[in-house]
Symmetry: C2
Subunit: 628 residues, 2 copies
Amino acid sequence: MKDCRVTFYPQNKSVIVERDTSLLEAVLRASITIQNLCGGDGICGRCKMIVKKGEITGEISGKLTREEVKRGVVLACMTNVGSDLVIEIPEETLAREKIKADKDADRFISFEETLFIKQYQPSPLTVKLYLELDNPSLANNTADHERLCEAICKKLDFFCSMQMGLKIMKKVPEILRKNNYCVTVTLGLRKDVGEIMNVEGGNTEGRNFMVIVDMGTSTIVTHLVDSNTLETIDAKACFNSQGIYGREVTRRMISAEKRGDQELQKLLTEDINELIRTLARTNQVNLKDITAVVCAGNSAMGHFLLGLPTNNIRRYPYVATSVEPPPLRAAEVGIQINPRGLLYSLPGISAWVGSDITAGILATGINEKKEISLFVDIGTNGEIVIGNRDWIVAASASAGPALEGAGVACGMRAETGAIEKVYIENGEISFDTIGDKPPKGICGSGIIDIVSVLLKMKYINRSGNFIENRSDVITTIKGVKSYTLPERKHNRNKKPLYITESDIENVITAKAAIYSAMKILLKRLDLDFSDIQNFYIAGAFGNYINIENAISIGLIPNIQLEKIEFVGNTSIRGAKIVAFYQEAFQKIAEIRHITTYYDLMGANDYVEEFKKALFLPHTDIEQFTLTV
Amino acid sequence: MKDCRVTFYPQNKSVIVERDTSLLEAVLRASITIQNLCGGDGICGRCKMIVKKGEITGEISGKLTREEVKRGVVLACMTNVGSDLVIEIPEETLAREKIKADKDADRFISFEETLFIKQYQPSPLTVKLYLELDNPSLANNTADHERLCEAICKKLDFFCSMQMGLKIMKKVPEILRKNNYCVTVTLGLRKDVGEIMNVEGGNTEGRNFMVIVDMGTSTIVTHLVDSNTLETIDAKACFNSQGIYGREVTRRMISAEKRGDQELQKLLTEDINELIRTLARTNQVNLKDITAVVCAGNSAMGHFLLGLPTNNIRRYPYVATSVEPPPLRAAEVGIQINPRGLLYSLPGISAWVGSDITAGILATGINEKKEISLFVDIGTNGEIVIGNRDWIVAASASAGPALEGAGVACGMRAETGAIEKVYIENGEISFDTIGDKPPKGICGSGIIDIVSVLLKMKYINRSGNFIENRSDVITTIKGVKSYTLPERKHNRNKKPLYITESDIENVITAKAAIYSAMKILLKRLDLDFSDIQNFYIAGAFGNYINIENAISIGLIPNIQLEKIEFVGNTSIRGAKIVAFYQEAFQKIAEIRHITTYYDLMGANDYVEEFKKALFLPHTDIEQFTLTV
């Protein structure tokens, strides 16, 4: 096979690849980060590049205009290298500044709503204790190490088996004597085992932080929390860089098998490190004072984080390598906090029921309630849980990222400038943005609203197609029918924001996958929506989801509004509970014990139910008529 | 300061040292191992070298003959470098093959005598378990890691928190599938925490070994034990290479402060590694099947092993860095067994009551008995313990290595060819050697016998001096009065074996230090030897100590013989109990709780008592008259 040199401008980076390698692969190897939301499926149309010199092969994408094709524009993911190439990457194709503040943060600054606050004393995973030890004397010449351990047990008021690494132990005598026996120890605590992670002179109790991570398939969310006050200081999020290996985790697992698990691990830990660095810098926190990272996510993401083999997750009979990995040092997987800082991965349940589910159950307390609850986490995988304190069943539906604001032409995450509410005002479509800033894109809640509003305004029909006679508001953008949102006054951002027919199709597919999964699961349990007492909706929607609009498009059924609660990012909330309360370990053990997985792929009526849901709201319209 | 080059022959090794550096230091830096039993005190006279060229400074040793001085012979420890030097090292100065079999091994092949065997089921520190796991199916798709842990808990019939390193976890899926789910796991168990140290295909249960180490100040003893049968397979011992930095631990601690703790650690771990390699090679054991090393020794040795600072041990108020270090990986301190193999240091009690004492109490069961026992461990430090199940007091007396066969002209360890018994037969002095082999030297028990016999034959007086009128048997060797043992027939080893007046002085000093320590300790407890119900004598004497002779020289008092038990190397025995029985951890915790240290150095009547004991047997002869 012939090797070709591909040179990218304006970066002026070259790579040698085999002929017929895709241009996406080549740009990847050149370590240039581009926008590529669909993961190489030719869907998002964002990986545009201009071929300046050389031969290419591959399809011409329908996402390109004739004019673009003439100028040599190609989609990198659909183009193969045919010879030495010179490629220009347009500005718009390059990844934007990845890290953004997350609206979720505001919601969870105070951590008041959980049953843990009411029932238990805080007992964080890592604590700093300031100790004033007795000076040794002939009558009290206990060894330094034991003196320290005894003082800790006394201060904590409980005895636990205390571990200490050799490196620290070697330094202890000097640290004690230099600081007149007044030191601060950093402790990692888990069940009945404690670890002395650090010993430093003086009182540094006040500076102890943790980072909580939701490792979503499309989005990584991190919260910086204060271990002393349990307060959330700040939050940052970014799209998951692993997206270049596929939108869905299955595609990424195939890549991991080909390239080794390290490649996927590295992308993830680099995202997390970048978020942590930004959180630390922005909030004047020293990385060494971040003493633990607590992560939740689906099982595949959990495996990627630790570099564990994923090959049996996607193969019959779907076996994970580990769903309850022990606590590790963060440094072991390349996460940069305190060198002895802990990495705690929340336990999941099985290969397809990850710790995002465990976290969701923990955060909503489904497992504490006598009555039956339904929990749905709307993400790239739609996770569904039904159960009570005696039994829990979980299922997972592949929804795609449309409801997260990804895989949609003008989609974006729920961050400043995102359109989060769309509504009808005086017969006109209007919208609000996050932070009341000029609109930059549309986030998940806005997308649900737009589809609902377009349906109400009869701009689209129940199949999601634009109605022919509404050509006053419908334009064709790049060959696809689209609705363009009205321009706002003082909008310096001149780019028009629109939603296309194929965006709407993605939304319908996503909501149909989730809705039909709920239906099938209820059917198997011989239950109906009316049996559900608490209906919890989780997801990365920002502050807000318009429940009525969600019902009107058929994402959720029409049940009494007071039963419905929007609970936000429950991965983060559940992980926070684990970070703050030792009792959470026992709760998770109980949850794992009563939870079973129902495999929708094995349900032969799932496809039928899915097809019925491919309408707005549904073929069976009865369930979605609002009766408020 | 001027640098000088010192070249050693026949090794042809050169080192650059500052002028006035001692020749011992120079030979050390050249990594040439020489005989040097006294640790550089100019006492043993074994570090002889011949100056071929160049200038030296320093004293002329009385250990050298006039003829030797003329030939340019010097003692390396008493000679300083004055210019570039060329030095010849005589054959006899070089260290002999260091590693020897140990007679102790035979004694403890069967492990029958302890209360543990009677009361508890064996539960070794490390076990190998062969597991035939269920193949996964849709109905049973537990993750690999949890499948393994569940199978282990089931087989062990108890639940414990199970840890597993990331490296192993990554390999588990492949190992399971390649071996049709039939694997052997190696487990480290301690209290309620288990660690999966290794997972390998097939059934290797049969091959699991541990090494038990007694880290003596003068001698390192290692036993290779089978974790399945609890049998001792073999034993090897060597003199402690740290001897070059001092005979006593205090001198070594001073060296460690000057040179850093690594240097002392390295000498010790290299000794242990060499012993382990020899044990493995001789017994066809693969190093990877040695899964734990269990060590006991005094606190200073314990610190040297881990590289912990010792500087506060020897300074008021005598504080150790750690007397209860957590289990570590052997690799962390440079001990070469299975890469994930454990290193367990037995807990000691304080800076001057090490784990050799804890082991001795555990092995003799003093802490289980209602009646009062006395335990004396005769080594370079004479360790004394008095107590019962309610209270225990320990003390330590600096005896020197004479009773271990070191620091004595013809002394050697209890190994093949050592004179271990000396007795009077038909009015003549006769002896037996270990293994009935030609005599090569005299070990500890033989030295006690000779002094006793010389006293009985009236060759020496009660001060240990040769009696003038016995010039028929007394010769002057190298200017010192000596008694030469009769030659044996068929002795191919032509070198005469003798004991000098200064050897006898060393023996008297050693026995006086130990005896007076016992006296003072009893006095403080308001007890007398007659209150002692069990009198345990421990030490590296080989198989044997003649109790009557020990009494006749005043090493031990004349108490009823049936109360006296020779218990051999209790460091090894105690460490074996810990290696084989989890219950030992609880016992040690109990022992630590009831044991206090009595500091003899603070006793103002100790010197007086010591002086009274500097006779054979004692100034107060009543206590030593045999009344059998």
